[in-house]
Amino acid sequence: MNGPLYLWLIPLIPFAGFLINGILGRRLPKWIVTTVALVTPLAAFGVVFNAAATIYVYILPPCVPCGPPDWGIIHLPYTETFPLPWIDIAALHVDFSFVLDQLSLVMLLVVTGVGLLIHVYSVGYMKNDEGYARYFSYLSLFLFFMTVLVLAGNALVMFIGWEGVGLASYLLIGFWFQKKSAADAGKKAFIVNRIGDFGFLIAMFLLVANFGTLTFTEIATKLGQDPGWNGGVVTVIALCLMMGAAGKSAQLPLYIWLPDAMEGPTPVSALIHAATMVTAGVYMVARIHVLFDHSPFALGVVATVGAATAIFAATIALVQNDIKRVLAYSTISQLGYMFLGCGVAAYSAAIFHLMTHAFFKALLFLAAGSVIHGLGGEQDLRKMGGLWKKLPVTFAVMTVGVLAISGIPPFAGFFSKDAILYAAFFQGTNGKILYSVGLLTALLTAFYMARLWYMTFLGEPRSPQSHPHESPWSMRGPLLILAALSICGGWIWLYGFGEFLAPVLGARVAETGGWRLLIPYTQYSLSLETVLSIVAVLFALEGWLIADKFYRRKPARPAQLAAALPESYKLLANKYFVDEFYGATIVKPLLSFSKIFLEWVVDVGILGGAAWLLGGMATFAGAILQRWQSGNLRSYAAWLAAGAAAVLLFLLVPWTTVLAYFAAIHLGMAGH
């Protein structure tokens, strides 16, 4: 691989960090571990930043209206391929190739940038943990696989990263493996992800069978050449891919692992289970969107799953009392938004929301981590309250995050959420329904985020014996940077972020009646757009007002409401009993099947029985043959003599003649 951008360095630097901290970390002094943990993501971010700067200088025009881009010396997509072929079997040719285009550049900046901030934050957060080096080696491993996933030029390389981030996620969820709940949560995440990965694998097999290639650009070319590719096998492939995406990005019905994943350290929840890894599904759908474009049905499924997940998770988040669980369900809900955006073919909007969500959700999680850190491990919202005086910086950045996720202008979330809702509104058949669901979700989002905010920071301290303290600067610094990004991150939409992504994501097949998100806000006639934005903001404010009423002006109201609607409250508080439902319909039958059939019949019966049978036969034969070993020298000699006599007999007697003689007798008798 060679090239002026050195893409191959981006994953390899974190991998070096993983090796150093993973192998030597326990023996190295702490400051070296810290240095490695900070330098490697910084260097990776530096390489990405260099690439971005190169592209900015050589490729992008100074501003969008200035005319067509001047494709200078570097052409996007820019590919770096390992010089040796990787898989070369008959017609199938797979290279180990990395691709940089507008989409992967944005994703790389988010992954390495937020990753770097969270590494810095972790230095403060994990300071007193025994597994300090182990933690950072896992985190570096995650960065390695995530950048492989993002840079992948074909589905197989992406799958490596895809599985790898799953592994890193498993390791980090179960980081405190002494706690049974953490170990179980890690296993749950891994197993549920396997179901999604199964879909991804099937999709890859179908791609090889039908297209003969796994390279994204070649798939797009083949689809473009033949307009006959519509529906049918393309739908099947797209749905299998969506299954993979639903597993990784915690969508219905595979979302159940993400709330449990909060057992991991909070920075991990921020980096992996909010900002980057869980958005891999959205990224994958956007990366391979040509397939979805050729299957309106699959797109419809994506949009429906997204919208359903968004409102479903938002309703659960209304009544959760664990600060991280609220954020976890909020993440699921926001990921639903992204899939809603993908489903209405507004991939740019989805990626835009992915980016802003990475900023404000990482911020919210890290701020929550700061609160938990300050309270010495307390995560229950009911035991917080009145913290704004004790944790002023955390309070300020959390406020920014809450405003951003609620969609209040001019914070980042407003622009991205608005872009998705706008695209949904214009989608052909079910657009208005999707839009309404999205709008309602926006209201719920504003409500539960405001609830979290009120319960944590305002009111009277509900657990007076604790002495909350503000976090160290290594934690406050990343919070402030993320807060700035959560404020300003959305503004790039006004400067043509959608147009920037358009070469990769913009076009959509005309006959599916698609709408292109190519018109930047500044050039569009503002009437309907403005109305929709105002409606969205009003809904968000309404959610905020309800929360204000419930948790500030009339604090008794939530309890009254819960008492008035006990069934609904119970349903929500128990997360619709989905875990119980899965437990009863899938886990328990599977366990019984494993116990009765696999363990007793197959393992003990067939396998164990076969082993015992073989052993028994050998023992039996040995019991008989051991009489041979009498220890009597003369019996050995007799056997030897008998053997020699047998050999002699065999050699000296002309057996063919004898047999022929007997045969002749027999035949002669038969003849008579």
Partner: protein, 107 residues
């Protein structure tokens, strides 16, 4: 010359004697209990074989058989030395030379 050769002992007699010697050796080896007698039976077998070697060597005018006999005799001498030493050692240790009772290595 022809007359002289025609009065020679026939080949089959030599071979018969060789087979008788070998069989006596085998039978002696199998039925005798005394380790020394067993040892002597082995010598008898070896010499039976030697006789057939010499017979054929003479018959075919091939010197290989004769040479082989020298080798066998040499090995037999060495074997006798080692074997007798072992017999003495066994007798010292067990105070018996009965083959059937030297069976400590039985399972």
């Amino acid at each position: 010359m022809n007359v002289f050769f025609s009065q020679e002992v026939p080949l089959s007699w030599y071979l018969l004697l060789s087979a008788v010697l070998f069989s006596l050796g085998v039978v002696g080896f199998l039925i005798k209990r005394n380790l020394i007698t067993v040892f002597m039976s082995i010598e008898l077998m070896l010499n039976g074989v030697n006789l057939s070697f010499v017979t054929f060597a003479h018959q075919w005018h091939a010197v290989k058989g004769q040479i082989f006999v020298f080798f066998v005799m040499m090995v037999a001498a060495a074997e006798a030395a080692v074997g007798l030493a072992i017999i003495i050692a066994v007798f010292r240790a067990r105070a018996t030379l009965a083959v059937d009772r030297i069976d400590r290595m039985k399972l």
